[in-house]
Subunit: 289 residues, 2 copies
DNA sequence: CACAAGTGTATAAATTATTTAAACGCTGCG
DNA sequence: CGCAGCGTTTAAATAATTTATACACTTGTG
């Protein structure tokens, strides 16, 4: 009845699915249910009268025909999409994500490549933010915040739970060795990220220690700077596994097994959403990581 | 929300539409309504945030972006489709259409190219048929029959009305000049296509002449052979405008203005349909001609 | 200057396609 | 033998597309 092949979308989906080793896997990555994948692939196979996947109990595998089809089509779709991206280049297809330079350099940066590959059309800007509020004012479409997720000014979505624990330099560690945790900690300057942060309070509670708020607490908003301050003996700070590099080299030492398990990284979107398409693409990619 | 561009079908449709100069025109050719075309193109333009067509009161025209997109995508889709056709080659994607070699050479052949372009995946076989019955036995999926459409053994669909009239060679024409129609015709051998054909009977009735069935009527099933027989003076036959070539060269002469207007070409499908997809594609193409 | 004929668009209803969630059946593994 | 993980099936919900129709607009024509 039709004049031109009209299963390109299904075929494009097949291309995507073919890069996973199971429908379930593909479904998760593509934000679909395995039922939908199964349905689509089945309908494609019926339309083409070609079996594309061999089904096994542990997953699927391309048939020779499937492999051939993949080879023959993927590059073409990519080219069309690339040209499309180029055509849209003039249009605002950008995305500004705010986060600490700490998170940017230690977590995001090594992973960013795959996002760029998947979305060559999105112009991504990483906005270093120490001030985590007023996203809209800063022109940020999405922020990655560290904390316990209890914020009202934005839409919050859990992203990457990552416990924090106190770190110090070798001197601090020695001090803990000699005096014990409680006495040593009372001597240290507690480096904080914000004025009103309750992270230290929470940690002391978790560790079963008393914590008197002290005036001489040093506030260093930028975690990278804070890490350097700890190394330089300015005090101790709460950090997470993103400082593994420093821990391995012995420049930082974990001072206690007690950790703030409810802390981690959260996604914060301004209530007045903008550029939802690119934001969604980025958020989805984040969850894949 | 999605991981890959999923408007390839719409884009493919755009490619098709772009080859017409109006949505209405495209709609007809694609078996859709103009509303559907309009909707699809609009949604594509919104998704891409690109204007693809300039709308004028007499039709549409590609914008520069649209032209660029067409250039960038059509060849890719074609290649995918071609490879697909190749892959399916092992599968039965053929279509056998039966017709007289007369119709095949004089009508179909010059038009066939566009069908091949539109459906590179369909392996088309033209089966010359003199015996127009028993389609299934002959492995014919569709037949183009000449006649008045009054057959019971198949599903009949009108296709190309084409009046027939008597033709003879120059000698016969001269004879008609001298003797008048009725007397001349009574002397001629009437060449027929089938034993039981009522075409001549109908024509005599239409011309207001009496027609006595004569034993010496010559049956020549193949119209091409029949045409040659007429040229060679074997008799006269009923033919249609497909012999224009011979008329122009004077090798044949139309002997009367009276015509069999209800005759023409009909599509005949066996009741037990097979390969409906390719048959439908071919039928649709036929109606476009 | 009206108007018929040709556009594309807008709308609501009908239809079709897709997705979901849940239950299922299968296979391999411990 | 039971469990975990896989793809499939199913019916219901949802989304997308198509149709039919009315509409607004332009153009050429009487």
């Amino acid at each position: 009845m039709s004049i031109s092949f009209k299963h390109h979308d299904t075929l494009r989906l097949f291309n995507e699915v073919a890069q996973h080793s199971s429908f379930s896997d593909a479904a998760e990555s593509l934000n679909m249910t395995k039922g939908a994948i199964s349905y689509q692939i089945k309908s494609l196979e019926e339309n083409l009268a070609l079996k594309l996947f061999e089904r096994y109990s542990r997953g699927v595998e391309l048939t020779p025909n499937g492999r051939r089809l993949l080879n023959a089509s993927l590059s073409h779709y990519r080219e069309v999409e690339t040209e499309l991206a180029r055509l849209r280049g003039t249009v605002d297809q950008s995305l500004t994500v705010g986060m600490s330079s700490y998170f940017a350099s230690r977590w995001l940066s090594p992973r960013l490549m795959t996002f760029m590959q998947k979305h060559p059309d999105i112009q991504l800007r990483i906005q270093p933010m120490t001030q985590v509020f007023d996203l809209e004012r800063q022109g940020v479409d999405l922020a990655i915040r560290w904390g316990d997720g209890d914020w009202d000014d934005v839409e919050v979505e859990p992203f990457l739970p990552m416990p924090s624990w106190p770190v110090g330099n070798q001197d601090a560690a020695d001090c803990v060795q000699q005096l014990g945790l409680e006495r040593a900690f009372s001597q240290f300057t507690l480096l904080r990220d914000r004025d009103d942060s309750n992270a230290w309070t929470d940690w002391f509670r978790a560790a079963g220690l008393t914590h008197q708020t002290r005036k001489d607490t040093l506030i260093i908003p930028d975690p990278n700077v804070r890490v350097q301050a700890v190394i330089d003996g300015q005090g101790i700070a709460l950090n997470d596994e993103l400082v593994n590099r420093e821990l391995e080299k012995g420049r930082l030492v974990r001072l206690s097994e007690t950790e703030l398990s409810s802390f981690g990284y959260f996604l914060a979107k301004p209530h007045k959403q903008s550029r939802t398409e690119t934001v969604d693409a980025f958020v989805h990619w984040l969850h894949e990581q």
